[in-house]
């Protein structure tokens, strides 16, 4: 079988270079994988997607919760990410010495915390009362610690040989991942069904502190972190892409355990969870166990879709951050969400404009004019599900300024609008996309991520493979139309890091 296929392919290729045949060949590879994917939706609405492959006795799991910072409102910014952290704190059985007693202390702790918060916000705070409550709070916190088996959830995965146990929160989603030796399938079922059925959000206040450190680490002590946070807040005035995933410091300091419980109830019903499992497992066995373990989670209503939309922009916006750092410029243009018919044209445009050594930005700014050391463009900033940004960025070379670079970028943008891209560029985009699709499918974990993403955000996991058809169909005119429509100054925000003391007078 194998040999025959090899030979045939060899013959075809030695004859021709026609891209059409190349596409066919690619399409075949994708079709073959697609055929092996199986899906099953439980009675409670939770969906499982399985791809069996046996390269090694390992399996990757990906749980995609359709909730991210875009679901947050004022007062609870950062709560999706807090919940993600809390999901590692164990359950009624994992991470505790005595669940019943522990729950009671935790409830008391919450009450004291609420009283403390109220008193602190009173018009005339009573310092005596605050101090008493604070002591009580610390005592209860200590008492609660007595019941905890520290880090047991992590330890249990570790012992089983878990690899890459982690979770990510973005504007659009919260994703829980792990890989295991493939005979541990049932262990995963037991752990994860318990995790989403019986969570106990213990060590809440300690973890909130950890997350504040994470905010300092990623946003407050990083010049680019500061810039991005301010950039989003300017580019999105209404849509919740406005705030950083990690949330505002004041919210992090005040979000309560009950807030998290409520949020969990609203967004973690089984119908809002999608799972992909890729590796050395049998689909029927996965579905049998999923019915056994996950179907017992009670179903709940699907959360209401997001209401707030970003209105049309009225004029070019600017944002600057002064920092002890060298200049950086980033320009973001509003674009529609990933399910827009313009999406692939944007993808092609980003590739041709700013991805790789032969892209336009790199060629002109770095190789030809030598005024930047790196420049590129990309889509999906900060998310993809809702209308987002097409972004262009540039690191000016030593002794060159962002202004200098922006002039060149603007000139290149006007070329995109007024002149057509070339056939050569378009063909490059199509070839690179195919190659990257293959690369993205090689690892079990990345494949699982792709299947859940396409199923939830694009509406069908088959698009993991079928998207190639849309890529193949894209034309020079499509790209030009998108450039014309969206790459206008009125539709953009410009953000810059300005070296401290230079106050924008560059």
């Amino acid at each position: 079988m194998h040999l025959r296929k090899q030979k045939r392919t060899g013959v075809i290729l030695s004859f021709l270079f026609f891209p059409l045949f190349l596409s066919l060949l690619n399409a075949q590879t994708f079709e073959k994988i697609k055929e092996k994917v199986k899906e099953h939706t439980l009675n409670n609405g939770m969906k499982f997607i399985v791809l069996e492959r046996n390269e090694a006795p390992v399996v990757s799991f990906h749980i995609y919760a359709d909730v991210g910072s875009a679901q947050e409102s004022y007062g609870i910014t950062g709560i999706s990410h807090i919940l993600e952290h809390m999901a590692f704190k164990g359950t009624k059985t994992v991470g505790t010495k005595d669940f019943e007693a522990e729950s009671k202390v935790l409830d008391k702790l919450d009450k004291v915390y609420d009283q403390l918060s109220l008193e602190k916000k009173a018009v005339h705070p009573d310092s005596q009362k605050i101090s008493t409550l604070q002591n009580e709070f610390q005592e209860l916190k200590k008492e609660a610690r007595e019941f905890i088996k520290v880090g047991e959830y992590w330890d249990m995965y570790d012992e089983q040989g878990g690899s890459g146990l982690n979770a990510y929160t973005s504007t659009d989603a919260t994703q829980y991942i792990v890989s295991l030796p493939s005979n541990r399938l049932e262990f995963w079922m037991a752990m994860e069904s318990d995790r989403f059925m019986n969570p106990l959000f213990r060590e809440f206040f300690e973890e909130r502190d950890v997350i504040m450190e994470e905010r300092r680490l990623g946003v407050e002590t990083q010049p680019t972190g500061k810039l991005f946070e301010d950039f989003f807040s300017v580019a999105f005035k209404s849509h919740p892409y406005h705030h950083e995933v990690v949330g505002h410091m004041s919210d992090l300091k005040q979000i309560t355990r009950n807030d998290v419980k409520k949020y969990f109830k609203k967004y973690y019903s089984p119908s809002n969870l999608t799972v992909a499992i890729v590796g050395d497992v049998k689909a029927e066995e996965v579905f049998r166990l999923a019915d056994l373990y996950f179907a017992r989670i009670p179903s709940g209503p699907k959360p209401e879709p997001l209401r707030t939309e970003e209105p049309e922009q009225w004029g070019e916006r600017h944002v600057t951050v002064e920092a002890q750092a060298q200049p950086l410029i980033i320009v973001g243009y509003h674009r529609p969400g990933i399910n827009s018919s313009d999406d692939i044209a944007f993808d092609a445009m980003a590739n041709i404009f700013g991805q790789g050594r032969s892209s336009r930005l790199f060629s002109v700014l770095v190789k030809e004019k030598k005024i930047a050391v790196y420049s590129g463009s990309f889509n999906g900033w900060p998310g993809t599900k809702y209308p987002n940004l097409f972004a262009v960025y540039c690191y000016p070379a030593k002794d060159h300024s962002s202004d200098e670079c922006l002039k060149v970028i603007d000139n290149e943008i006007s070329k995109l609008i007024n002149e057509s891209i070339t056939e050569e560029e378009l063909s490059k985009y199509k070839h690179q996309t195919k190659k990257w699709m293959y690369d993205g499918m090689k690892e079990n974990s990345r494949m699982a991520a792709s299947l859940t993403f396409n199923d939830v955000v694009r509406g069908d996991w088959r698009l993991t493979f079928d998207i190639i058809k849309a890529v193949d169909a894209i034309t020079i005119e499509d790209v030009k139309a998108v450039a014309r429509k969206y790459l206008v100054n009125k539709n953009r925000t410009i953000g810059e890091i300005i070296p401290e003391g230079k106050g924008g007078a560059l």
Binding site: Q6, L13, L22, L25, T29, N43, N44, E55, A56, P57, T91, T93, V94, V150, G151, D158, E159, G161, G162, S182, N183, E186, F187, A190, F205, E206, R208, D209, V210, I211, E213, R216, L217, T221, Q222, D280, L292, A295, R296, P298, A323, Q324, A325, Q326, G356, S358, V366, K367, K370, V373, Y395, K398, E424, K428, H431, K435, Y438, D439, M441, E443
Partner: protein
């Protein structure tokens, strides 16, 4: 609506019923599960050959996707640079690719490769220069032809050298932009010493002093087939690929290389407290440690398990989970192939808990040298290593790249299995013994980068503070002045 709701309710009830019928089979995560036998790890067939000109090959077939990856390791690392030309290996590695060849200039090569959806990249690092190729299998001939041409006949043109220098100088000007990179860089400096091959970094003056002649000489001295190992994996026939590589590189003659002595590490253990002031941050970055070890040290398996316990069971649980002091604490005994690595631990924490965090880290290092780890910790760490061992074999690329490294540093090709056998035998006593031998908690070098105005305690409570100046020497400052 009502009817729908009713149906829904019935469905739910049915679900509950069904699940309660089957619930005898559900296990709580704490119950012992019986696992089916794990499928055997099927080791791929590895073609391991040395060509006539001394170039070594490791090839693995993998027909899952119609792609091919090649990766070459050339013994031309920055360890062979002199102190007045720091950046030479890196610039050579960059210009090798950006300059293209006599036949295909770099910019044309960019278009050609990207037009195929292919990548060829080269870069110089401390130990070696790396080159990789990644392409669709139908382009393999073109790819090999360009790749071999690059390694054998690079153009190394002046204009791309100038560009690489601009790039290098720009990154020098940006090297203090980020607190992470400051901490990493300066901590390496503390351990290996300034100007040492394992810690030094380029300055404007060293970049300016590099000429095309230097680059050509560096290339001519080190870029030879007998100093190159190549690994390939993907959709090819091993015999065919071997033949193709043999043909492509047949005109590359073997050459005797007169290697300079490898840099020696002469470490003197000492306790020091070092500080870099940054007034634009509200969080300190902390690293502390001393010299580490080598991979072929018989204690390595014990140190590996010690790492797991020190880092995850202890530092993570104490500093992060219990104290909420930090997002990412770690402790790691670093071991390298051919030289002593670095033992370090570190974290980031808000300015007002800086000294406290240092004290907690020191305490954990001390503790692991004073008392045995618990049975539970040992069992867990070993289980974790053993059960996740299979992930060392879950991709052909991983397997073949590992072999390439072993071959390059003259390690036995089954080093990973040897390590596993060692880990299996590790005892609590072994760990304590190894910790006592390799860790010196009283002679740690401490580095804190942060804003001292907001610290919980003055850093001097830890000892006499040595303040490090990280100002970047300006481009035209004479060398003598910079030293002061």
């Amino acid at each position: 609506m009502k009817l729908l709701k009713l149906i829904n309710a019935n469905l739910i009830l049915l679900c509950i019923l069904i699940s309660s019928i089957l619930s005898f089979a559900q296990k709580s995560p704490k119950e012992k599960l019986v696992y089916p036998q794990l499928h055997k790890i099927e080791m791929p067939k590895i073609e391991n050959v040395t060509l006539k000109n001394g170039m070594r090959l490791f090839l693995i077939e993998d027909h899952q996707y119609p792609t091919v990856d090649l990766r070459a390791m050339i013994g031309a690392g920055s360890i062979y640079e002199t102190n007045d030309k720091i950046g030479l290996a890196s610039i050579t590695g960059t210009v090798l690719r950006t300059g293209g060849t006599e036949n295909i200039p770099g910019d044309k090569m960019d278009k050609l490769l990207e037009g195929l959806g292919a990548d060829i990249e080269t870069y110089g690092e401390t130990n070696a220069t790396y080159a990789y190729v990644s392409l669709l299998k139908e382009d393999i001939d073109k790819g090999i032809s360009i790749f071999s041409d690059l390694l054998m006949h690079p153009a190394l043109p002046e204009d791309k050298i100038a560009l690489a220098k601009i790039e290098q100088k720009t990154w020098i000007s940006r090297r203090n932009d980020n607190i992470w990179s400051i901490t990493d860089r300066e901590f390496r400096n503390l351990i290996y010493g300034k100007d040492h091959a394992f810690s030094r970094y380029a300055e404007y003056s060293t970049i300016n002093s590099i000429t095309r002649d230097d680059i050509v000489a560096f290339y001519k001295k080190y870029y030879h087939p007998n100093n190159t190992i190549l690994a390939a994996w993907g959709d090819f026939d091993v015999k065919e690929l071997k033949k193709k590589l043999e043909d492509a590189f047949s005109a590359w003659p073997e050459e005797k290389i007169d290697f300079p002595a490898k840099p020696q590490v002469n470490y003197q253990h000492k306790y020091t407290v070092n500080f870099i002031q940054k007034n634009d941050v509200n969080q300190s970055h902390i690293q502390l440690g001393h010299i580490g070890g080598k991979l072929d040290d018989p204690d390595y398996p014990a140190l590996l398990i010690m790492n797991q316990i020190l880092s995850f069971d202890r530092m993570f649980k104490v500093l992060r989970t219990k104290e909420g002091l930090t997002y990412a604490p770690w402790g790691y005994f670093g071991a390298d192939y051919d030289h002593l690595g670095i033992f370090n631990c570190g974290t980031q924490t808000k300015s007002s808990s800086t000294v406290y965090a240092v004290e907690l880290l020191l305490k954990e290092v001390k503790r692991i040298t004073e008392e045995e780890v618990t049975d539970e910790e040992l069992a867990k760490a070993k289980d974790s290593y053993m059960n996740s061992f299979v992930f060392n074999f879950d991709s052909k690329g991983k397997i073949v790249e590992r072999l390439m490294n072993y071959a390059y540093f003259n390690y036995p090709l089954d080093f990973i299995e040897k390590t596993r056998n060692g880990v299996e035998k590790v005892t609590k006593a072994d760990i304590l013994l190894a910790a006592k031998k390799h860790l010196q908690p009283d002679k740690m070098q401490i580095l804190v980068v942060g804003n001292k105005n907001d610290f919980d305690k003055p850093l001097s409570s830890l000892g006499q503070v040595n303040e490090i100046d990280i100002a970047i020497p300006t481009e035209n400052m004479p060398e003598a002045k910079k030293q002061q």
